[in-house]
């Protein structure tokens, strides 16, 4: 089993943290994992991305050319990573902010209005957790509880009230992705 995920968005959208959270959860589940950020002469409002590989075997290359999952938080990310996604890969994008027309037909596209949903929950910064919930639902790579436990163990303790909101955001992400796959099922049988 190997899952490779690219998390990408603007700096400040919680891209790197979302990737780290997955890495923590995978480690705590006893799996092999690598997390590698983009680093460079970055600027505010510039792009940030990280690659996370989760595997039940030792991981050689920490980078992938064609990831099986892309979590795109903004438009430039959809534009860039749609083309790099592996055949039959899954593109989960934050449809609150994305408008780029997707051209590849064979990939699975999962639009999640994550920024809007996060705002409804009470904090727009929860967008990354809504997206993470959708990733968990689409990939089934780790149980929901594993990410919840990772949040409890590794999130800063300065604002404990955020923990419940983060969990709520994750849960909403799962539900939205579930609704999507239900929709796909109907389409497939039609």
């Amino acid at each position: 089993m190997q899952h490779d995920v690219i998390f990408c968005g603007f700096g400040g959208q919680g891209t790197l943290f979302a990737g780290q959270l997955l890495a923590y959860a995978a480690m705590d589940a006893g799996l092999h994992v690598t997390w590698i950020p983009s680093y460079g002469p970055e600027m505010r409002g510039g792009t940030a991305h990280c690659t996370v590989i989760v595997s039940d075997e030792e991981i050689g290359s920490p980078l992938v050319r064609a990831p099986s999952y892309v979590l795109a938080f903004n438009n430039p990310s959809v534009e860039k990573y749609e083309l790099l996604l592996a055949p039959n890969g899954v593109l989960i994008h934050n449809s609150s902010l994305t408008s780029h027309a997707i051209t590849r037909a064979e990939i699975r596209v999962v639009p999640i209005p994550a920024s809007d949903v996060a705002a409804e929950i009470g904090n727009a910064k929860l967008m990354n957790m809504v997206m993470m919930g959708a990733l968990l639902q689409c990939s089934q790579m780790l149980p929901f509880e594993a990410i919840e436990r990772a949040l409890e163990a590794h999130m800063s303790t300065r604002r404990p009230e955020l923990l419940a909101l983060n969990k709520r955001a994750l849960q909403r992400g799962v539900e939205l992705a579930q609704a999507q796959s239900a929709g796909l099922g109907v389409e497939a049988s039609a």
Partner: protein, 375 residues
């Protein structure tokens, strides 16, 4: 200790602390700055010395001074910063004091860029400054290995009174992996007998890097060379993967080595009998092991993130017994497994008359002569 998710640079810093480093001197430079930053916080907490020097030249000379005083001293930098340290490194080598240096390589030459590179193999392995000397050079490929080799670096530096360099690239410096840290080592109760600790009540010690008489300096040079010969006999370390029945052998260190491992695994799935030798010690180089493998191997492929540096040592070791090909990326580009897989397939087809039983798609990057050199 349970596993923690650790960033390469920070893991090395904590490993050095647990190995008992007394003093750290450095100057910030990407992609190793987290190492210095971590030390800035942790060393004073433990009552140990941390100095952010005014330059790399100053930092290495502070390391030199602390090491002469019998303290466990280290520094870290990245390519252009290490160039500035070369004078000091040579003085340290001439003086035979133990020092640990971490070089998190970036793209060059010149200011280059801050992306991961292995372009300083020549600089560190062939010499790290003027005069006839070589440091011991250790090349980790995973965060766990970086931790383990940091402890080993201090042991070897003290055992042989030499410079030990941890040579890695920005990828490993920046990435996070689960790893286990060793327990904190007790600090040594006594100073080494050669250290400059104040001569009251004992014979005077002196530590020099010059010997004015040619015969004296030659005797010192011979002593340093004899020490290197012992190191070559005792300290070679490799990581080997699927070599048992391998007809083709991929050789790569650090990040290039671990990316190659993925390509080797994929090639095996296609039925190509290929294995990986990843040198952990670049100096001393695993020349005897490679020579032994060359007796049976059909061909070698060396993968590096440079224009072809370690490949020269592989060719010397193989001694013409089998073809040695090279695949490299430069400028901070990390090769992807599919590029290396395609290169393995070309080596396979070039060294056998049998038609291939597999199909390789790609490579997905346009190849130029500079990427793949057959000399």
């Amino acid at each position: 200790m349970p596993k923690q998710l650790l960033k390469g640079n920070e893991a090395i810093a904590e490993a050095a602390i647990r190995a008992g480093v007394d003093a750290y001197f450095g100057y910030p430079i990407t992609p190793q700055t987290e190492l210095l930053e971590y030390m800035a916080k942790r060393m004073p907490e433990l009552g140990r010395a941390f100095v952010q020097a005014e330059s790399e030249v100053a930092a290495i000379n502070m390391v030199y001074g602390a090491a002469c005083a019998g303290k466990r001293a280290m520094t870290s930098s990245s390519s252009p910063g290490v160039s500035l340290m070369q004078e000091g490194l040579s003085y340290i080598a001439g003086s035979e004091v133990p020092v640990v240096l971490v070089d998190v390589m970036r793209g060059g030459p010149g200011l280059g860029n801050i992306a991961p590179s292995q372009a300083d193999y020549f600089q560190m392995v062939k010499s790290a400054g003027h005069g006839d000397f070589k440091p011991i050079v250790l090349a980790p490929a995973t965060v766990q290995e970086a931790i383990d080799l940091t402890g080993l670096a201090f042991d070897l530096a003290e055992k042989y009174r030499t410079i030990v360099t941890l040579l890695l690239d920005g990828t490993l410096g920046q990435m996070m992996e689960p790893a286990e840290l060793p327990p904190m080592r007790p600090m040594p109760a006594e100073m080494p007998a050669w250290a400059l600790t104040g001569a009251a009540g004992r014979k005077k010690n002196s530590i020099l890097s010059f010997r004015m008489e040619a015969e004296d300096l030659e005797a010192h040079n011979l002593h340093l060379q004899q020490k290197l010969a012992v190191i070559a006999d005792e300290e070679v370390r490799t990581y080997e993967y699927m070599l048992d029945d391998a007809e083709l052998i991929v050789v790569g260190f650090g990040t290039a080595g671990r990316v190659s491992q993925t390509a080797v695994k994929q090639a095996r799935q296609k039925g190509i009998k290929v294995g990986l030798l990843r040198p952990i010690t670049l100096s001393p180089f695993p020349d005897r092991r490679l020579s032994q493998l060359a007796d049976e191997a059909r061909g070698f492929l060396v993968v590096e993130m440079n224009a072809g540096q370690m490949v020269e040592d592989v060719r010397l070791s193989v001694g013409g017994q089998a073809p040695v090909k090279f695949y490299g990326r430069m400028g901070g580009v990390v090769p992807m497994p599919d590029e290396i897989l395609a290169s393995i397939a070309r080596l396979d087809q070039a060294t056998t008359k049998a038609p291939p039983t597999y199909k390789i798609e790609g490579p997905l990057v346009p190849l130029t002569k500079a990427h793949e050199v057959t000399r």
